[in-house]
Symmetry: C2
Subunit: 332 residues, 2 copies
């Protein structure tokens, strides 16, 4: 990002809204167009995720939740890799400079940057005639060679997932007037819970070290549990069996399934969960679950890694395999 003393609108915008977020010395107060991640003997984990208006968030979403989602989808990746947040760079593609929008956006981004210990290091603002887009590249630190990958899952490992699955997909359904919206017409509290899960992910950074200490493989669930587990298994050269009845659901989600408003398949294939999916030997699971309890995050064993190269099987209470038509959300 550029210097505030230049008269251009882009630079005044940066100074006004984003300089307060650049608290790390490596950000040089955004007067440079580059930042420094200092050497510390750790590996730097790099992850990048963009969110696009109308695709990953709705034009009607409040600017503060858009900011939080943009950063948190990246923080979620760092959590699943076992990395401690170190900072991020931001590319904002805006249609125009809307002061009120930007003020709310920057305030929320700054609040999350502070609470997650992930300061703004730099960025770029560009204008676009199209939809807004927010692209963030985030950095984390792990001890050398200790990033948790996707390739280490081994037959016999348990499969665990944090939090609950499917709420964000239901939240989007509520916001777009789907079946969940109608079913919850008189239940504003349930609607709010689900919408909040869609708009503001709860990345599990508090569990990063426990994931690093115990998991053989991990990733965050962003494109749907079924599709993401498929990716993890493919990367590890293994298969999996998931006990669908064990997949953790919120009260609101369980209620909608009980009422036949949605199917569990929809929730397992839905996106935007931003929970951690990981595998580990059974002997390690107690320690991870205990770490979750200490942090106030439920961690649930949902299945087992098995040998083979088939797609993971999702079995219902009767042992019947679910037919997941669309394994994961794809943007194309």
């Amino acid at each position: 990002m550029s210097d505030s003393q230049n008269p251009s609108a882009e630079d005044s915008l940066i100074a006004r809204y984003f300089k307060p977020l650049a608290t790390d010395p490596g950000a040089f107060g955004l007067v440079d167009d580059a930042a420094v991640l200092s050497s510390s003997g750790d590996d730097i984990v790099v992850t990048t995720d963009a969110i696009v208006e109308g695709v990953h968030y709705l034009a009607t979403d409040p600017p503060d939740t858009i900011a939080r989602k943009a950063l948190r989808v990246n923080l979620s990746d760092l959590a699943a890799k076992g990395a401690a947040p170190a900072g991020f760079v931001l590319t904002l593609a805006l249609r125009s400079t809307e002061d009120s929008w930007l003020g709310l956006f920057a305030d929320a981004l700054g609040a999350d940057a502070k609470s997650f210990g992930c300061p703004l290091l730099g960025g770029d603002t560009v204008s676009t005639p199209g939809p807004q887009m927010i692209s963030i590249t985030a950095f984390g630190r792990v001890p050398k060679g200790r990033m948790v990958g996707r390739t280490g899952a081994r037959p016999g490992d348990l499969i665990l997932v944090t939090g609950t699955i499917g709420d964000a997909a239901l939240g989007l359904d509520v916001l777009t007037g789907g079946a969940a919206a109608a079913a919850l017409a008189s239940e504003p509290a349930a609607r709010d819970v689900l919408v909040s899960r869609y708009r503001v992910p709860q990345p599990r950074n508090v569990l990063a070290q426990a994931v690093r200490d115990h998991a053989t493989a991990a990733m965050d669930v962003s494109d749907g549990l079924a599709g993401d587990l498929t990716k993890l298994c493919a990367a590890s050269g293994v298969s999996a069996i998931v006990d669908v009845a064990r997949v953790p659901l919120s009260a609101a989600a369980a209620d909608l399934i009980a009422r036949n408003i949605v199917s569990v398949e929809t929730l397992i294939a839905g996106g935007d969960d931003y929970e951690v999916l990981c595998t580990l030997p059974p002997a390690q699971s107690g320690a991870l679950i205990a770490a979750g309890q200490a942090a106030g995050v439920a961690i649930t064993a949902i299945g087992t890694i098995v040998a083979g190269h088939d797609q993971p099987r999702f079995l219902d209470r009767q042992g019947q395999e679910l037919a997941l038509k669309r394994l994961s959300y794809s943007h194309f």
Copy 2:
């Protein structure tokens, strides 16, 4: 970026076009959604620049030049910071998956990644209903504490610039049917030179070490020489006097000025040069210029840093100050 064995279109796209570019071990062949920059005792320099269709490049530009520009505007930042390229992550916002476009784009990106020693580490592909956008975050390495900033310019330092200034602005003028297009109607070679300078920047990474060894401050010229020098001076708390007659021009640019088709003010305020602007004590200038000669890059002294906080003054042959109406290009 995600795994190729998942059936989604996004993943097949990534596997087909981008996995071959992920030559660094820290990219994990793009099977993970995070990459690792390994620790080496060096500082990691981070820079991010996005280019938007219709704003930073034209919808009619060939996909190979768009790819090269997207990477090179970031490589140019690394060069000016004295950093050796270490890799990059890519966010591609596309309207749809156009195989022929993507193939040409990825091939050119891979060729540049190889020739500049800057491998793809990861990325994200998203769909957008709006214009295409390519956002790159690039990483470089410098010895600890040795990134060349903007704040070190001191009164008495010379101001130097690599290559020539203003060609890219003229190239855009040619492409958009401006005065230069008409004036060069019968000179296709000159038109091609200027258009090429707009579409494919020539970042000066070959000079990164010399810049690090000699410069007190440096940045790349991306938003126009006048505006960028203003930023550098403001960051350093100094002012400057530039001898406009010394600003290096290509033969095509000098000819258009001689014919009164364009003014030198326009070229000095134009953008997209992607040359290195730096300051250094006069005693160091010979070594930097010699490094440029060895690398085949002209480096020209154009002025002097002076004490004060005024905007830099650009003086013509008669010692008259140019009135630069628009100091630099702003996207807002």
